[in-house]
């Protein structure tokens, strides 16, 4: 009972924090005829016809393509069929499972926001974690986003390294995990150690059980996805090249946020 009162108190005291952050962080809808210094830069390479530099270096392309092939088969013949069957579970329930896992890994985002001195983001992620854990039934419901308009902001150690101007290094395709880079793969290892709740919950699991949990999480994620990989495969002349270009740009954009 006393615990409940404590939580209620915590909740009430934290709500204004969440709401204070709830204002949209960027001002939009104003027509701005002026432009920043980065305006020209954003155009720069579009008009440089000499620009032929690759978006990311790929010295291990031959090996990467093999792993890409392996991941493709894994996806097409195992994960996706399972995800398709799993879609009998109503979407809101699957969404909740995704929310639960995402909420558990909040510390990763909080730490990495703080590492990048983005204390506003760290605060928002913290309030999200408290609000969703307490009101959102242990993270099953993303109350902070729905009612507080505080969406999740993805931060990881790869982005933190990028923030401190560490380049992506060579492109890597990781078995099971997909597109990455030397920097981001290293970041992944750090992020695992920054994930205390997930680590705590899985402390008694064998390696195989942990792998199964990861696979379950992946299946849940795929069940919510609109076949985006299939679409890339259908539309791109060379899906490997297209995904590499998209990954490199996506990560640059993430670091810039």
């Amino acid at each position: 009972m006393r615990l409940a009162i404590f939580f209620l108190f915590l909740l009430i005291s934290l709500l204004p924090v969440g709401l204070a952050f709830a204002q949209p962080s960027e001002g939009v809808t104003s027509v701005d005829q002026e432009f920043d210094d980065d305006f020209d830069q954003e155009f720069a390479d579009d008009f440089l016809e000499e620009d032929d530099t690759p978006l990311i270096s790929d010295p291990l392309e031959a090996l990467n393509r093999r792993i890409f092939w392996f991941n493709d088969k894994l996806y097409v013949y195992l994960l996706k069929p399972v995800a398709r069957v799993y879609r009998v579970v109503p979407r809101p329930a699957r969404k909740s499972v995704g929310n639960f896992f995402a909420n558990l890994s909040s510390p990763v985002r909080i730490f990495n926001s703080a590492f990048q001195l983005k204390f506003g983001d760290a605060g928002r992620e913290s309030s999200r974690f408290f609000v969703n854990s307490l009101i959102g039934l242990g993270g099953l419901i993303d109350v902070a986003d729905h009612y507080g308009k505080i969406p999740e902001k993805d931060e990881d150690f790869g982005q933190t390294l990028g923030f401190y101007h560490v380049g992506q290094g060579p492109y890597l395709i990781l078995p099971f995990l997909g597109p990455s880079s030397l920097r981001d793969a290293g970041g992944l290892v750090v992020d695992m150690s920054l994930d205390p709740f997930t680590n705590y919950l899985t402390r008694n699991m064998s390696l195989l059980e942990k792998a199964e949990l990861k696979a379950a999480r992946a299946v849940n994620y795929l069940s919510l996805d609109d076949d985006s990989y299939e679409k890339i495969k259908r539309d791109a002349l060379d899906p490997y090249l297209f995904m590499r270009a998209a990954y490199a740009q996506y990560r640059v954009a993430k670091v810039a946020q």
Partner: protein, 193 residues
């Protein structure tokens, strides 16, 4: 009737002003046109056809091709370019028309618009129950209208992604190799549909 008036007005004022619409108005015109078709009761085939017509008006296929080919734009012969452009347009069209069936509501919110000379960047968001995706349009002014030459979705540029892949194919297999790959791809896509 009102539309007719607007059209007439645009037509009359076109020669007077070099640029009749701002980039945002131009993009909005296209987006509204596409949404109108999407929300209509037309059959999927008809929807695709109408959307294709609407979008094509606003795309600068030459600018798009030029940026996609990069270094190879100047190296290519006129004949190669004449083969490339319609193929590329078809591939791009397939890519977004295949998304037509996925559409399940949503709206576009317009954000910052930046204009400098004959270039513009427009920030928008596609917001629906399930998504909130930043979409940025890059436009270039050609013959009095703003033409879209690149779309960035969550920071991933369409043109840059295509350029990166196409340049690699061009480097390895030359222009003929690229054209063959494009033709094969189109045949493959059309067979599936």
């Amino acid at each position: 009737m009102r539309l007719l008036c607007v059209c007439l007005f645009l037509l009359l004022t076109l020669p007077a002003y070099a640029v009749s619409a701002t980039p945002q108005e131009q993009v909005k015109q296209m987006v509204d046109g596409v949404f109108a078709v999407l929300n209509s009761d037309l059959a999927a085939d008809l929807k695709r056809e109408k959307i294709s017509g609407t979008v094509q008006k606003f795309l600068g296929i030459e600018s798009l091709s030029q940026r996609t080919l990069g270094v190879y734009w100047k190296k290519a012969t006129a004949d190669e370019l004449n083969q490339f452009m319609p193929l590329y347009l078809k591939i791009l069209e397939r890519t977004y028309l295949n998304r037509v069936d996925d559409y399940s509501g949503g709206k576009v919110e317009y954000g910052r618009e930046r204009v400098k000379g004959d270039k513009a960047i427009l920030d928008t968001r596609f917001v629906s129950e399930r998504f909130d995706i930043p979409v940025q349009y890059k436009l270039v002014e050609k013959a009095g209208t703003w033409q879209i030459y690149d779309v960035l979705i969550e920071g991933v540029s369409l043109v840059r992604s295509y350029r990166s892949s196409y340049n690699e194919i061009l480097r390895k297999d030359g222009f003929d190799g690229l054209l063959t790959k494009m033709e094969n791809k189109l045949a493959q896509i059309e067979k599936v549909d």
